[in-house]
């Protein structure tokens, strides 16, 4: 049982975080949106659902806080509170606070810590201020209405009800709330209030039949029902929409204006209690006249055992719109079912397990393949090659499962930019591109923090204050661009700002002062810019609370390197800076290309191979002429100190990384191979130019070459300055 609860709680945590994400997105989208209703609804829905679910887990502190948030949102929905910029900022903080509360729950603090609760108090105070203001405004508005000032305004009420009875040209809504709605954090009152914003509640009767005696009454259960006469131009679906949040938890009957008596019969039939009493209420609501009620009750008596539906069909008296509404409803339910089944939630561990198995499958498949070739049985060879194709497809779809769009990660930065630009007093807009680019889930999870640092750094140090920008003739609003795209087997994420750019001299001076470089050494621009990723390097004159403490960029570089990625930076003083993060697409399985040197076999990620050419070299130099271009190369034999003489007919594999090419001299080309990346042990952590290992079909181990490192080495060896951007990762 407790296990079930744990599962449910886990689900709750995941869902709440998603909802908070939605809430944040909607809050940020509010700025500049024309029609805010949809977003306000989304925000309300998020707060509401979190409150409801927290109630289920008795997380009273979460419920208490979200309740206040929800109350404010409810008033926003009802147009009683204007959605000011200040309120958006406050709601964002509230969303953060709910996030911390949820995190606290995840950490096992089911009642919240005093610190957390204290942190929520100022927010609640501010929210209350909004509520009070709204209340005051509402009262001021309603002051001229005399009924408001009379506590027992029965005469007024009665008059109002009977005033409209002549024509039943209004909707009749019959509501019976389930006992748990209150516990789930919902208040029937708010639905009725909201209904009031869509039209006019002509009359309302509160059904108290369900209220038990004092002994059996649980004050946290809901016992009330409502019969409403509602005048509005909206359609049925819109009315149903109002009760969307409680649809599962209430019995809702909506009868259109001028419905036939028989439909009221069915409503009466639904009533478990005294049908006559309900009938009375319909009369009081002005929905039915007493004569009509008599007719209805008589019909009911005439056919006590016939289902009402049958009566309706027999009489052929159902209004088309009712049938249509019913059909639409059914269709909606079906469609909802269809979309729901389109995506399922899978435990990430199970997915990892699958990827591991696929990896093993590939290794086993490779060994079968080799044996088949050796046995020279044609049928067997054919069968295994077919199998290999299938395994490849399985691999691709398994990896595809782990691919997620980077959009969600990018969108988080809307909030960061929103908040940080306020903190800094700068006007900065975020432009997002390529949010549909997919990459491995693990990479997405780990890239968040480094990106955050880059973004903050750009905003803090890159983009200048409005005055400086104006003086430099730039638009007052700074622009930060996040972009993602695929490029030769890697994903490239760039963070670009149109700020002041890097000051080459200052960086160099600082680096010399810190002893990072030798003063006599000549460095290229890119090398100089790359220095800012060195540990303990910061040129910010003053330390702000965002960045400038000298930690961070080196951590960014380390994190990205840990993902087998690289960071590049390019900058123009006064124009802007672009930081380019290059990451491998997947972390588990790649298409590899095998090369042999002596008896050892090495694997190279296929995406990074441009072409293979026969060996040639400029005499006495470690470079060759590739169709008129200088191509520096590295001999694996030398690099790894492989003994023995080079074989005849050596080959050069042309590698490409981050816009640079380098050659790799090998003995033999062995062809493509699906490479399952196995990490190297801690012992080999220091070894350069090797990024991992893989197991071949024969059971032998092959080392995977680290292409970025090789290209870098070839470049530095040839002394050639990288053409565009430095690779410092």
């Amino acid at each position: 049982m407790s296990l079930d609860m744990d599962d449910a709680l886990e689900m709750f945590l995941v869902e709440s975080r998603e909802l908070l994400g939605d809430m944040e997105t909607a809050l940020l989208a509010l700025e500049g949106a024309d029609d805010k209703t949809e977003m306000v609804n989304a925000i309300f829905r998020a707060a509401h659902t979190i409150k409801g679910s927290s109630g289920l887990f008795s997380l009273d502190h979460v419920v208490a806080f979200t309740h206040v948030v929800e109350s404010v949102l409810d008033k926003v929905r009802a147009d009683q509170i204007a959605l000011s910029d200040k309120l958006v900022v406050l709601l964002l903080s509230c969303s953060d606070h709910i996030g911390s509360l949820i995190d606290g729950v995840a950490a096992g603090q089911l009642a919240g810590t005093p610190e957390l609760l204290a942190a929520g108090e100022p927010l609640v105070t501010q929210l209350r201020a909004f509520l009070d203001a709204a209340k005051a405004a509402a009262q001021a508005q309603n002051a001229p209405d005399p009924s408001r000032q009379m506590p027992t305004a029965d005469t007024e009420q009665v008059q109002r009800i009977h005033g409209d009875t002549a024509n039943a040209d209004h909707w009749h809504i019959s509501l019976r709330f389930g006992p748990d709605v209150l516990r789930n954090g919902m208040d029937p009152l708010s639905f009725i209030r909201y209904l009031g914003t869509m039209g006019r509640v002509v009359a309302i009767e509160t059904v108290t039949d369900g209220l038990p005696d004092a002994e059996h009454m649980d004050p946290e259960l809901c016992y009330l029902g409502f019969e409403l006469a509602f005048q509005s131009k909206v359609d049925k679906a819109a009315i149903e929409q109002v009760f969307e949040f409680v649809r599962d938890d209430c019995r809702l009957v909506i009868l259109p204006p001028h419905s036939l008596i028989s439909e009221y019969v069915s409503l009466l039939n639904l009533q478990q209690g005294d049908a006559a009493r309900l009938g009375d209420m319909l009369v009081r609501c002005g929905t039915l006249t007493p004569q009509e009620l008599d007719m209805a009750l008589n019909t009911q008596v005439d056919a006590p055992n016939t289902p009402i539906g049958t009566i309706l069909v027999e009489q052929g008296s159902v209004q088309p719109e009712v049938v249509e509404a019913a059909l639409t409803k059914q269709k909606q339910v079906k469609e909802a079912g269809a979309t729901e089944s389109k995506s399922i939630r899978v435990d990430a561990d199970k997915l990892d397990q699958l990827i591991n198995l696929v990896g093993e499958l590939i290794i086993a498949g490779a060994s079968v393949n080799m044996i088949a070739h050796r046995s020279r049985v044609i049928e067997l060879t054919e069968a295994t090659s077919k199998l290999a194709t299938l395994v490849e497809e399985v691999r691709d779809s398994a990896l595809q499962l782990r691919m997620v769009r980077i959009g969600a990660t990018f969108n988080r930065f809307q909030r960061v930019v929103h908040d940080v630009s306020r903190d800094l007093g700068k006007d900065i807009t975020l432009v997002i591109d390529g949010e549909d680019t997919e990459l491995d889930k693990t990479v997405v999870e780990k890239i968040g923090d480094p990106l955050m640092h880059l973004v903050r750094n750009s905003m803090d140090h890159g983009i200048e204050s409005a005055e400086v920008r104006a003086a430099r003739g730039k638009p007052a609003q700074g622009t930060l661009k996040l972009n993602a795209y695929h490029d030769s087997g890697a994903i490239v994420i760039s963070v670009e700002d149109d700020g002041g750019g890097l000051k080459r001299d200052k960086i160099l001076a600082k680096a010399i002062e810190r002893g990072l470089v030798d003063a006599s050494h000549h460095l290229t621009d890119a090398e100089v810019y790359g220095l800012i990723f060195e540990p303990g390097f910061s040129t910010a004159e003053k330390v702000t609370n965002l960045s400038g403490r000298g930690v961070g960029l080196d951590v960014v570089k380390r994190n990205i390197t840990a993902l087998r990625g690289t960071v590049g930076i390019n900058s123009e003083e006064g124009v802007g800076t672009i930081v380019t993060v290059r990451l491998p697409l997947t972390l588990a399985i790649i298409d590899g290309f095998l090369v042999g040197v002596d008896k050892a076999v090495y694997a190279i990620p296929l995406d990074m191979i441009e072409e293979c050419v026969a060996y040639s070299a400029e005499p006495g130099h470690d470079y060759t002429n590739l169709r008129g271009e200088v191509l520096p190369f590295i001999r694996i034999r030398e690099l790894f100190s492989v003994p023995g003489k080079p074989a005849k007919g050596e080959n050069i594999v042309v590698l490409k990384h981050a816009g640079q090419k380098a050659g790799l001299v090998v003995d033999t080309l062995l062809g493509e191979f699906q490479t399952v990346i196995k990490p190297l042990g801690q012992m080999f952590a220091q070894s350069k130019c090797i990024s991992g290992s893989t197991i071949l079909g024969s059971g032998d181990v092959a080392l995977i070459l680290d292409v970025p490192a090789l290209v870098r080495q070839a470049m530095s060896k040839s002394g050639q300055a990288p053409p565009e951007r430095a690779v410092v990762g």
């Binding site: 208490a64 309740h67 209340k135 009262q139 009924s147 408001r148 506590p151 027992t152 305004a153 029965d154 009420q157 009665v158 709330f177 209150l182 516990r183 208040d187 029937p188 009152l189 009725i192 209030r193 009031g196 009359a203 309302i204 009767e205 509160t206 108290t208 039949d209 209220l211 005696d213 004092a214 009454m217 004050p219 946290e220 809901c222 016992y223 009330l224 409502f226 005294d274 009493r277």
Partner: protein
């Protein structure tokens, strides 16, 4: 009937305090008057509690009066049209048979 036994309500009359408030409404000696002037917030759970107090009193042949309705209370009573449920005797009388049948 003995001297008035006034129960003064303050602050929220909502689901959050429903559990704690129920005994107060049903306390002995019976409450004869509930002062709502200090109520800042009323929700369905609160309305139910007030109804329960009224109903219990009627079932025992007593009555309980609600006085000093605050703006928040009036707002909800208006919305739900339940003033009559608690209100003057004329209306109550016409409903009493139904009330009796229910309990």
């Amino acid at each position: 009937m003995s001297a008035a036994n006034v129960l003064k309500m303050d602050g929220e009359l909502t689901i959050f305090r429903a559990m704690e408030l129920k005994p107060a409404f049903l306390a002995q000696p019976p409450v004869t008057e509930i002062d709502l002037s200090g109520v800042t917030d009323l929700d369905t759970a609160g309305v139910q509690l007030l109804m329960l107090a009224k109903k219990t009193a009627l079932a025992q042949g007593r009555d309980v009066r609600l006085v000093g309705h605050s703006a928040a209370v009036i707002d909800v009573f208006e919305l739900l049209n339940v003033a009559a449920y608690f209100g003057d005797h004329l209306v109550m009388d016409s409903r009493t048979p139904a009330t009796g049948a229910r309990s």
